[in-house]
Symmetry: D2
């Protein structure tokens, strides 16, 4: 039992089954196979729109490649100061774009607001060609703080971006968790809200290594296929990413897995919040719980073999004492009960 990260969980059995099913016969490489085409079409159904879909193996690749077609190499991305693109990709967006700048923007609970974006833009006024021109707004759904944008919040942010001439990138490494939590149509959480490109994650939610970059305006996909290839992200045996998504969408598995992880996190959060001296740092809206324990408790729990990590964000409300606990589709009621029990006794 661990709350270290959703990527510590392995793959859902249905995903492995789908891979095994796909391992039949010789088929064209590089995405020319029927299964890839079928799954691409499935994405169009799920998102209720003709779109261009590209598969890659990691979220960092998806984000970096998507951004590289959404802005010029000297352009500027506005992103939350705690976002994955800013904090966790080892300057990957800068690499993929060929040197674009990220302007970190503050916002409560890991979320940006139209006012926050407007303020950041006002502080970095357009003076071509001196300042890097603001070109793209990068959002995350659900966020790195375990929160989610409502459909209307997302829509307002995209409108603000559009108004400022920015394209909109959505990092959806935990898009499934957000969709499951909101019960909203994928379309409402993406193109209908104004998102240009969605990086749709499978890996954190039961796949082995499967991410999809979805261009809702096929023309915007531009030269993505060249960029994916030169970055070494075009799989020759593409059917094996396609297969993962095939299994992922079957019978709504993707939403089931996410809902399970979300539910466990809610339980964990509620239980922790009820313990004297524990403070929940952000609303627990998906599968991540952030909490500050009384002094010594986290260490004590770790000494007992409980695995979870301290977490710092810029502008951290808890001054570096926050802990992050993540649930996955594999987390069980027993895991939660056992952890809460230990936490109560450690307090």
């Amino acid at each position: 039992m661990t709350f270290a990260s959703d990527n510590w969980a392995g793959a859902a059995p249905e995903i492995l089954d789908a891979i095994a099913r796909a391992n039949v016969g010789a088929v064209p490489g590089y995405g020319g196979d029927d299964l890839t085409k079928k799954v691409e079409a499935r994405f169009c159904e799920v998102f209720e729109k003709d779109c261009r879909v590209f598969f890659v193996a990691t979220g960092g690749a998806a984000n970096g490649l998507a951004l590289s077609v959404l802005l010029p190499p000297y352009g500027m991305i506005l992103a939350h100061e705690a976002s994955h693109v800013q904090m966790d990709e080892c300057a990957g967006p800068e690499f993929f774009t060929g040197g674009a700048k990220i302007l970190p923007v503050a916002g409560a609970d890991g979320k940006l607001t139209p006012d926050g974006v407007a303020g950041a833009l006002a502080g970095f006024p357009e003076r071509p060609p001196h300042g890097a021109p603001a070109a793209c707004l990068s959002l995350t759904q659900g966020t790195e703080c375990g929160t989610i944008y409502s459909v209307s919040e997302l829509t307002d942010l995209c409108a603000a971006a559009r108004h400022a001439g920015l394209t909109v990138h959505l990092d959806g490494a935990r898009f499934a968790n957000a969709a499951a939590a909101l019960g909203a149509a994928p379309a409402d959480l993406s193109w209908r809200a104004g998102v240009d490109v969605l990086c749709f994650g499978g890996t954190k939610n039961g796949c082995i290594a499967a991410e999809a970059v979805i261009f809702f305006d096929p023309e915007k996909a531009a030269d993505f296929e060249f960029r994916r290839k030169r970055a070494g992200h075009l799989w020759s045996k593409m059917r094996f990413i396609a297969a993962q998504f095939d299994g992922y969408f079957e019978n709504g598995l993707w939403l089931d897995l996410a809902a399970r992880a979300n539910a466990m996190a809610k339980k964990l959060s509620a239980g922790l919040g009820a313990i004297d001296g524990v403070e929940i740092s952000y609303p627990t809206e998906i599968n991540e719980v952030f909490a500050v324990f009384p002094d010594g408790v986290a260490e004590h729990l770790r000494d007992q073999g409980r695995v979870f990590f301290p977490w710092v964000t810029p502008g951290d409300p808890a001054g570096g004492k926050m802990q992050r606990l993540i649930c996955s589709f594999r987390t069980t009621d027993e895991d939660i009960a056992s952890f809460l029990d230990a936490a109560r006794r450690a307090g």
Copy 2:
């Protein structure tokens, strides 16, 4: 039945089994798991040397990332004019290195020679800081022309590189095929011959997506882990690449699969060579056959549903009329017999 490419074949069942076996429990992400460590150690055994091993999913990533630590961003790579790094990676090495130059070098049968390398260097003399300084020799084993370097050829080339102050990169997307064909120890085909970094392929030979970048001098690995991460090539669920290599090395599977493909190619080559008017373009030393058919024959075979591609290399001896036929671990004696039969009748 197809001779299109070794990547049209799916995965060997043993590889899928190994993946399934690895899907147990929660384990650390990003390569911190025991299986990854076990398989890294296995590489050290196979290569009879303490080395640093990094897993990625594609050959393009392996090559590009390896090169990025082997030379500075303004350095020059010497590579065969028909090599994968030059012809097939959409300027990936240039991307990963941050702008290094590739100087294409000619050589018979897809192979470089010390004289060829010396000649290329003589034609691009060092005049710091004007010319891009020659910094790395990139070799391929087995080559894109289906040939192999003997241990002594490889050793001589590495010595020539060393003499000229070049590091040595070996693109081993088909290293298994070369090792099986030569019956040589992996160490003799790599570090003992003078190779600094080997990109060891699994994907073309029965894996799903598994390549290993092997630094024989651990210190040379330098900042590889940062470069892999920022390029989106660090898998969070790393155990699933490790598992593939686990299966790959078990009971010598890697050499068995390669030997099978090689044997099929030999048969195909011999059979085709015996047909009147068919010319074999290069010695068939691994699993690739290059041939020129009498006019109309290739088209006729394709019309019948036989799948294989025309192939062009710079300095092509066959003036653009060459065909490439690749065998995989899945190719059967029946496939060969059937194709040869069709070829004979089409002639």
Copy 3:
């Protein structure tokens, strides 16, 4: 008469004379000439240290190239949120470094503090290889807000950087103004304080196009000459940058010019500050004055043909109403008197 920028002023006559003097005979290109060597040696004298000096034509080139050897392409630069490298170089540092990240840090009056740096680092903790590793602290002397670091402030910042494992870059586009204002030895404002590389500006202070990148530890210069060349910043007729610095250092011209501009700014600032309703935004320590005028005054002055620009910085204390007025070595007492007179009447 204009207060638009110090780069609106042309060249000091002494600089043009020095260029003319250098235009004699045929001399080696690319810096192999005697004058370049003489001036490089002059830098070592001025800075009281053996150092490696490289000439380029612009401040953006100096900063970008210097940073490119001070950190890896995936590293992170900490810089003031209002600094030139962050706000005014169109993502140049990201370009030159091959994708490094800039983390903007707040600080009063355009200045960083050790606490500010420590706080920024705490909010972006090292988690290799996930976050871009903090690698370099970039400071500006004098700052974009017209302020200066004292020797002890600079020393403390460099110590904090060293403690955190960061190299130190100093953008000295207005280094002369700072040196003149402080009356400090150039060495005390650079290597003795802990600076690794200084970008020493001449252009804003009477040269045509002359900047020097000074490595105080010659070994750190590493591959600068290759990087300068590939970026198109190696002049073939290098003597003509050397000549500018030759004239610049003669008889202390560089400090005289800077002192003159500083003195004019002091006068302007004092005069403006005495006008009812005018607020001086930052201490006027070099040749830049930042002020907020009563509503309509700035516009009125501009309508009369007075040239100066509104200026915005992130975290601007004046909410976007600030004006920037820059004096140069050409600014006269009459210019100041005339402007103050107009400002008084416009109030």
Copy 4:
């Protein structure tokens, strides 16, 4: 007296005069001044076309920046194997483009031919997204071998490029020499022939540091101004590059200087060719002479203080024994006579 390079000569006095004339008053920076506008307009007159003109200080910057807007970062440039962009810019084009590939193409006398280009393209067939897509043909006029393309040769090459979907870049570091030699209208040597972008050099021909990037289709200039800025190639005191071109065009100075250098080279070439045992390697069509001396002669001349360099090109007809002698606008009849005399006696 030296024949080392045209950049060993300083500046023509008229150029320095023009700089001095421009040093009057305060004018807008970054090219917003009247002189810059005047000179831009002058370029449109000289080239008989409305075009967008951008000034930079070096030929490497001009070439790299021009290429960066002429092809995508994963695209391929075809260039002569002896061209400056391939051999002399320390991988600058790869840097500026963000990783584009250069495919070196052979051709007699430093010149490409439509057949040579077609052959290179045939050897690197389009297989999107695998190979870097051929995107740009880069030509040089006059060439690095001291030869020139006639108007019809240039027109044929541009037509071949257009036919293959390539943009055309012309490196005109010695454009003046070519124009003077051919007596052709600048328009006939550029846009009328089919050139998209010309890098028009002033530095080698009497300027201090002045190159112009000319986009004949203003729309193709695209984001050049952002790229120039981020690369540190936008001068704040732009008037001082404009001034150089102002002087350069006055009374046809540019063609006079070039014609003088050309005439000297013709004389030198004729004289050397008449010496027993000296072989002229390429036709002497501009200001560069390439020759092979009898054994020991070059060394002997150098021992006497004569300065000129050995020169190697890939595919060098003279097996590394070639010498390069360059004349400049400063070369005199006496220089030639003295050198020929010495050469005769050394033979």
